[in-house]
Point group: C2
Chain length 364, copies 2
């Protein structure tokens, strides 16, 4: 998608072969790109959340492994690079998925050819992600088009939580892909952007990318969505997913469950948009998904822009108080109207997913 | 309640007759008391949220009117002082209630005696509030005592939203009164404190007063409560109310409805604690309650403490993005396990409230 008219992806290889990403921890106030030179840089970029979002984590891990292989293509080195990358974020299923795919590709490849094979596979993972997100956009936009027909003369109000836009993927996004597609197709849309505490990915990243692409939006406190649904001001909610069980339970950014409850209570359709790589066929109950606990400081401190333009960090919780920062929750399939995938839209259930992914669904 | 061992109330008259409040907009990092010298000071203290919380707003408006009367006891001046105070916050029912009671008291009182009568009535409103909150604490603690028996060997986990503690009232609090009473009675309690965006009253005020009184607590993002309930980590939720309909719908800080949905979905008891003055007998449907829209800046900017100790304000939303800041939502009575009032605990319904307030309930 575009920033100030310039097309960008969230991770790319420069003409000199370097791997570059956008430092998302400095958005929306500073736009900077950073080179990942070694596998350690990629691991740090993921764990520090310079890059985040399930698909982009997978893509960064893939390029990270390629960077490691370029340095040392031995099996031992690959093993240790993969372990380092796998340990960065426990919840995102794409991380394990991308690493396993990368390692599978390198099996039996002579040492001298491994670096090229690894970079080529990482590029393929990125290209597939772009294509999957594009397809999610097409399928999801069909829902928005239908809902817009029922709301003539005003923009369609879409609520989203966290950032599942192109910054979370390589391009297009998952939850936002249908929004971009609908917007580009001339359907008037307006997005309610959940701030998404504690890391404010909605206020900082979703708002940034929607503004950069020219999509109408309003930032709201995470507390507001339920009230807006009660008052008929939300036509549809679309979120991403960091891991989806074979039964359609959706693990996503903390607070997603609360919005799903409100949508259900008010008859507002609630969709999760996700690519195949997000589905964990080995798990059928959301409670089995490990929930990442992140540092208290993400909640106790807030970083933003001071009036003179620089960034500052302020403490918002008394020093005498502790904080608990769990990053994800699980929305049970019963609250999910449907899953929007690159293959189409399905019910959030074992049956629904099996219909879209016959081979994989039954393998679980 | 106590701060560093010193007993405080949230509003009081000094020995010299001055009216003083705690500047809550500077908590938790700066503790300062401020004199309200004129009715304009009281109005500004309410609208700027130097004082907040439904009962304290009522108490401050009462003293504000007394300050106005001291300056000019004429009917015209009282009319205009009351109008100024009534316009400060549209949702809190206590505001209108306190002003109407104050004006009723002054009817027929000779001009020369009005100031004394007004101060005396304001003091009576405060004293009654303290007694009501104390009684709410006693009734609510009986619920906590019963729940604690079912959870032996560990602290009882209570979730609260926003600040309905003693800082929101004159003393004790509404939602927190049962917590303080239980704590003082030796029942081990632990409070999950919702941060409460956008103004962070949970992180700044609830955490502050619980810490000052020595009650175990953990600050959490507003997004976390649903997940904690799913995992059995919340035994009961207690919130305050800014206005309660005659049918038991609870209007409270934005986001309360989402927690009530999660509590209902997980079988967690959900109570609202409130004094008589919060009940609006003229309204039977929550949708009829006007919802205050506050400045965007409360969401787009965050104030906190910088490392060197001073306060700073940082922008957390891109300049290109708009924000919407509605301060309250309505939790339908069907999601409320019960109302804890100064007269006891009742069902959130017309029948429940009528049983506790026979004369008033039938007047609606």
């Amino acid at each position: 998608m575009k920033i100030d008219g310039v097309p960008y992806q969230s991770i790319w290889r420069g003409a000199d072969g370097s791997v570059r990403v956008i430092d998302q921890s400095r958005l929306p106030f500073e736009f900077a790109t950073v080179e990942l030179a070694r596998v350690e840089d990629a691991a740090r970029a993921i764990s520090s959340m310079m890059v985040r979002g399930a698909p982009l984590i997978g893509a960064t891990a893939a390029y990270g492994l390629a960077l490691g292989v370029r340095e040392d293509p031995s099996d031992t080195a690959i093993e240790s690079a993969a372990a380092m990358l796998a340990g960065t974020r426990p919840t995102a299923h794409n991380l394990a998925w991308a690493l396993s795919r990368m390692r599978g590709t390198l099996v039996g490849v002579p040492l001298s050819a491994r670096a090229e094979a690894a970079f080529s596979e990482a590029a393929a993972i990125c290209a597939e992600d772009v294509e999957q997100c594009r397809a999610i956009g097409v399928h999801g936009a069909s829902i928005l088009r239908r809902l817009a027909l029922a709301a003539p003369g005003r923009p369609l109000n879409i609520l989203t939580h966290c950032n599942a836009g192109w910054l979370a993927c390589v391009d297009w996004g998952t939850a936002l892909a249908p929004v971009y597609r609908a917007h580009d197709d001339g359907i008037p849309v307006h997005v309610w952007v959940d701030e998404t505490r504690p890391r404010n990915q909605g206020a900082s990243l979703t708002a940034f990318e929607l503004a950069a692409h020219g999509v109408a939006h309003t930032v709201i406190a995470d507390n507001l969505g339920g009230h807006l649904m009660q008052r008929g001001r939300v036509d549809v909610a679309i979120v991403g997913s960091d891991r989806t069980t074979a039964s359609g339970d959706v693990c996503n950014k903390i607070g997603t469950y609360l919005k799903a409850l409100a949508a259900y209570d008010n008859g507002v359709p609630f969709y999760a948009a996700l690519p195949l790589s997000t589905i964990d066929w080995s798990i059928t109950r959301g409670e089995q998904i490990p929930i990442e606990q992140r540092p208290e400081s993400e909640l106790t401190h807030v970083t933003g822009q001071i009036e003179t333009g620089g960034l500052a960090t302020v403490r918002v919780v008394p020093i005498a108080s502790r904080a608990l920062n769990l990053a994800f929750d699980v929305t049970p399939a019963r609250l999910v109207t449907g899953l929007i995938t690159e293959r189409g839209i399905c019910e959030a259930s074992v049956q629904g997913l099996r219909q879209l992914y016959p081979g994989l669904g039954s393998a679980g």
